[in-house]
Amino acid sequence: MSTEQTLAVETRDLACTYMSGATSVAALDGVTLTVRRGEFVAVMGPSGSGKSTLLNVIAGLERPTSGWVRVDGEDLAALDEAGLAGHRSKRVGMVFQAFNLLPRYRVVDNVALPLIFAGVPRAERTARARALLDRLGMSSRAEHRTNELSGGELQRAAIARALVGGPAILLADEPTGNLDSANGAALIALLDELNRGGQTVLLVTHDASIARHAGRIMHLRDGKVLD
């Protein structure tokens, strides 16, 4: 019980196999790992090693072929589609390489978006989104459309959106992939700062200079964790 409460993520023998035509690809091949609360873990590995698949499984966007995963003590296998949606809106926050913001909404509305599906009333949504943007130094951008923002700002907005639901873990899939080195460094500094504020972070990257900032680095290759 006490370990469960200190673990943000726990996976056991996770496997995820894709069938493409006659051949099958094992994107994950027996991944067992734990992420404790408050940790900043980087998952490193070359392209195609299964990093995104791992994050997607933890986020509940993908179901593993075998093995299990617990996030914040909750076994994802026990959740149906609606349950997984709730999991994504409350327990995890996801940041993508491609930002994935909605261009027709203002930044503040993008940040507040997950709270709509968690049933939070409008006034509270906006207040929480604004507070978060403020904390990330983005309050001057709150009313802008996303096409008026720079890449670094877009990714900050995406991080704000990932954090707005107060997730147990922040999942970032190559968040610096579309940023120049200065903006990339600033973003990593932000993740570092969030982690020092207590936020659990699981970062995926193929860049060693970025992984270096994490408290712990895990290496993934061909769907397996290397020791």
Binding site: R88, A98, I116, F117
Partner: protein
């Protein structure tokens, strides 16, 4: 997801692609307008016909004539209605009243001169026949003898005005030749005179020749004319007709059947109305079908637009799902968007159909000022709610498959979609 957020978010989606939403909505509006216009036309026509029927008489009434229906329905054989038959009529279920009528031979109100030709009808008090509106005096009452209720035109021949005719003693000459309009009718038997007191005058709009006298007086006059006693007249000639009143108009068909089983032909407005109703049901169905085809075309338009919009917003669907939208939320968003097309299109269509009807009606009256003043297009609350409901239903049905497609989309493949 809260209902308010669902409504606001899908309204945003609906309003975003303005031209496309406008065109799709216009399709629904035109379909709805056509349904409204055509059903309003059918309702107007039906109301008109019903109104004229109800003005003819009571729907609870079954009239029995002294005939037996012929084998081919056209020929009819005379058949006496005597007191025995009347008592059989009284025993039929759901009969509230049986009223006998005997028409005495044609005659004349002597004081009124040649123009005062009359058809004396012997009726029972409270008989449910069209007695016209009373202009003065009263109708026949129980126990009356030697009295008459006459039409206004005849009253004015025997007195300066209808009120002055009340209480006046006049002579009914029954039998023999009379002049009806410009023709002389030979008449039957030898004329005889009967003194009667005028107790009532009715509006001649109902009849210019009918004079209502007590049934017993008419029987005596009829018997005198043929040299019979009143009792043998009842048995041999029988009554001219019987009015049977049902306790409720829904039981009229049953009474008609019983009367026919007893071997008499009968007539009831109720049955005419039922046939007219059936006819209008078909008429309305055809018109609604024509409007329905227009709505169907609109539905295809909605489905097409929704499929396009689901495709176009694939990535957005992926994002919504990734940040926590449940499959039901995604479906609800698209269904609500379709519902907006139905609601806006339905309301516009209602307005369009209603105003269109008004314009057409005005044009018709302009072209032909003598058109029946009753409304041609009738839009009742049923039609308003029904048309609106239909538009929304059509939109939801059309949006169902695209919405399901959006719901079932995998978040990850949607996110990869360019």
């Amino acid at each position: 997801m809260r209902l308010g957020d669902l409504a606001a978010m899908s309204l945003g989606n609906y309003a975003r692609s303005r031209l496309r939403s406008a065109l799709t909505t216009a399709g629904v509006a035109i379909g709805t307008a056509l349904v409204v216009l055509l059903i309003a036309l059918a309702t107007g026509a039906e109301n008109n016909v019903r109104r004229s029927i109800f003005s003819i008489g009571d729907l609870r009434l079954v009239t029995v004539q002294p005939f037996q229906p012929g084998a081919n329905g056209l020929s009819a054989v005379p058949r006496t209605i005597d007191d025995g038959v009347v008592s059989q009529f009284r025993k039929i279920g759901h009969v509230a009243g049986v009223y006998r009528q005997f028409d005495a031979p044609l005659g004349q109100v002597v004081e009124g001169g040649d123009d005062a030709a009359i058809r004396p009808q012997g009726i029972e008090p409270n008989a449910p026949i069209d007695r016209g509106d009373l202009l003065a005096g009263r109708h026949l009452a129980l126990g009356d003898r030697g009295v008459a209720v006459i039409p206004g035109n005849i009253a004015r021949l025997v007195a300066p005005n209808v009120t002055a005719a009340i209480g006046k003693l006049v002579t009914l000459r029954i039998g023999g030749a009379v002049r009806l309009g410009s023709t002389r009718v030979g008449g039957s038997g030898t004329p005889r005179d009967y003194p009667v007191t005028i107790v009532g005058v009715f509006d001649e709009a109902a009849s210019q020749t009918s004079v209502r006298i007590p049934l017993e007086d008419a029987l005596v006059a009829g018997a005198d004319n043929r040299g019979l006693t009143a009792d043998s007249l009842r048995q041999q000639t029988g009554y001219s007709g019987i009015a049977i009143e049902a306790d409720d108009s829904t039981n009229v068909a049953e009474i008609v059947r019983s009367v026919q089983e007893l071997g008499y032909s009968s007539f009831s407005l109720k049955q005419v109305v039922e046939q007219i109703d059936q006819g209008f049901g078909v008429f309305r169905g055809i018109l609604a079908g024509i409007g329905g085809v227009a709505l169907l075309v609109a539905a295809i338009g909605i489905a097409n637009t929704m499929v396009m919009s689901v495709l176009e917003r694939t990535r957005e669907i992926g994002i919504l799902k990734a940040v926590g939208a449940a499959p039901g939320d995604v479906r609800a968003l698209f269904l609500a968007e379709a519902a907006y097309v139905g609601i806006v299109g339905g309301v516009l269509g209602l307005l369009l159909g209603y105003l269109g009807g008004q314009v057409i009606e005005r044009i018709i009256r302009e072209l032909n000022p003598r058109t029946n003043p009753a409304p041609i297009f009738v839009v009742g609350p049923d039609l308003v709610l029904g048309a609106l409901g239909l538009a929304i239903l059509v939109a939801l049905v059309a949006g169902f498959l695209p919405a399901r497609r959006a719901m079932r989309m995998s978040a990850l493949s949607a996110l990869r979609y360019e």
